[in-house]
Amino acid sequence: MDRLINLALKAYAVCAFVFIFLPVLTLIVFSFHLDRYPSLIWKGPGLVWYKEVLNDPAIVEAFKNSLVVALSVGILSTFFGGTAAYFVNRWDFRGKHIYLALTLMPPTTPLIVLGLSLLVFLSLIHLSGTLFSIVFGHVVFCSPFAMALIRLRLTELDRTLEEAAWNLGHGEWRTIARVVLPQLVSAIGAALLITMALSFDEFIVAWFVSALDVTLPVKIYAMMGGNVSTKLNAVGSMVFAISILLVILAQILWMIQPGQRSAFDNGRRLG
């Protein structure tokens, strides 16, 4: 009976994944299809649509914008999230639980609500409609993720290492720089890549607060308004590939423990 349930659960999981990824898989398969319209007989493979995408200046422009935004968001979110994580991990202060609840709000707020409220806010201070607005909105949304990752790694750290550093003559700030940060490098790297992936992929907030300078997801949406071009399959596949790549790299980086040389080194040696 247990085995049956086990099997059923596994089958369910597979079905769920298929349900989620089948559209994406279709996208990828038909991005290599040579005909303009998807049909049951697949002709290909060919890179003709990818070539058209790379030759479309509007798409390339949007792609560059996405990269700039993603990089800026990655750096800023990791910085804000990381310093917040350190404070929360090391100090107790009054209202700490309220603070923590607030930091949980962006990921739990529906993006439409976030996007709309950001549009209102940024318009009020005359900062909406630029790439900066998108960066602003994404940093709000992504910082809690960076904070969670770095906070997790902080709880895994050996506190006696910091005491040992103090004991050997290093003050608090020196210790943070020389003992804590080196141990956080892989977590910071993972946080950077995850927040970049989140930003690169993000549509709604970007759509709300942007105007003429848009990111790739917004451009794709605009393209869908007109005729459904087969270029969309190629663009979509590229966006998917980049996001997945960033997430996989983040996962590999995260697995590197402080002191390990690589993610696949389990530290076992003969002494």
Partner: protein, 362 residues
């Protein structure tokens, strides 16, 4: 007269409502090896951390090398610590770990490298310089930890159960190495351990702590044979403790009446007891004789054999006395073989009153 290396004056440390250290006063002399022992939670590690500055005292003063350091931050003191879990920095190699304590001092690179090499040589691992910490064995890690602590040429070294993570053989070897090192360098060692034999093997003086207070400070021999109170008598060594009132004066000396019979005690001439005084004395398990070994001494007690403990070549025999208390005798295995006892047999043991020790009345 050399100044004391570390002076603790009535130091108290409270964590919330719990007093972990309750009025500890101690003077550690320059070049001395002092070991703190006591059961878990007695405050020995907290006391060490107070000296290191990793905790701030709730009251009392601490001075190190003649300077008042009560509220000094840990990085302002020169009291490097050797840690039980080594606390080596995994992201630095061995040389850079050892060099760490020198980095905040204004010493040029060449000099730093020389000091690092010297420290690694002193602890016997000069070849490990370029290794990563993850590549070292437990014993090697501990040596690197010691080198890291020694590199700044400190006057005081703090050691928090440094051998606790090592296997038994290595522990014993490192004990004699540490002792030799301390003697050679003349550094003051303050050592915390829960392993009594380790403390007795290495220290000049032992500090026995319990529930935040110091119960006794003395040489290993003093603490072992002349415990200052009942706690130390029970905690250190293998002792049998009797309590009772002085009931009469025999021609040989005072007699104490206890739950297991009257016993003769021997007291130094300077102290006087009178009838009715409450007296507690102990007789160490290794100073007890049995009828199988010759004539019995004045003080005798009979008990039923209820068990045996075998630790290497020493055997401890446990007897149950008539009032239910356990009496222990310790013999070399060879001697024990001449005592034909089985579980449940009655055995009469005895001791000379001069071999017993009367605890000082508080």
């Amino acid at each position: 007269m050399a100044q004391a290396a570390v002076i603790l004056n009535n130091v108290v440390k409270r964590f919330g409502s719990v007093e972990a250290v309750s009025g500890v006063s101690l003077e550690v002399n320059q070049g001395e090896f002092v070991a703190f022992i006591g059961p878990s939670g007695c405050g020995k590690t907290t006391t060490l951390r107070l000296v290191a500055g990793l905790e701030q005292p709730s009251s009392g003063t601490i001075s190190i090398n003649g300077r008042c350091m009560t509220n000094a931050k840990p990085w302002e003191r020169d009291t490097p610590m050797v840690w039980q879990n080594f606390a080596l920095f995994p992201f630095l190699n061995v040389r850079r770990n050892v060099e760490f304590g020198l980095r905040e001092r204004k010493i040029d690179k060449k000099k730093r490298q020389e000091k690092v090499s010297r420290a690694l040589e002193i602890v016997g691992v000069p070849e490990l310089g370029e290794r990563q910490i993850s590549e070292l064995s437990g014993g090697q890690k501990q040596r690197v930890g010691i080198a890291r602590a020694l590199v700044t040429d400190p006057k005081v070294l703090l050691l928090d159960e440094p051998l606790g993570s090592l296997d038994a053989n290595l522990r014993v070897r490192m004990q004699s190495e540490l002792r030799a090192l301390q003697r050679k360098l003349g550094i003051t060692f303050i050592y915390v351990t829960h392993n009594q034999s380790e403390a007795f093997a290495m220290a000049d003086r032992i500090v026995v702590m319990h529930q935040g207070r110091i119960h006794q400070i003395g040489s290993p021999h003093e603490v072992y044979r002349q415990p200052s109170d009942k706690f130390v008598a029970e905690f250190v060594g293998v002792n049998n403790i009797f309590s009772g009132q002085v009931s009469e004066f025999d021609k040989k000396g005072p007699v104490v009446s206890t739950g297991n019979g009257p016993f003769l005690i021997s007291i130094p001439n300077e102290e006087k007891v009178t009838i009715g005084d409450h007296v507690t004395f102990l007789i160490s398990a290794d100073r007890v004789t049995t009828s199988y070994e010759g004539e019995l001494e004045e003080n005798q007690v009979t008990g039923a054999v209820k068990g045996q403990e075998f630790v290497g070549t020493i055997v401890t025999l446990l007897l149950e006395l008539k009032d239910g208390t356990t009496f222990r005798i310790q013999k070399q295995e060879r001697q024990m073989l001449q005592i034909p006892t089985k579980l449940g047999d009655n055995l009469t043991v005895s001791w000379n009153p001069n071999d017993a020790y009367v605890l000082p009345t508080s």
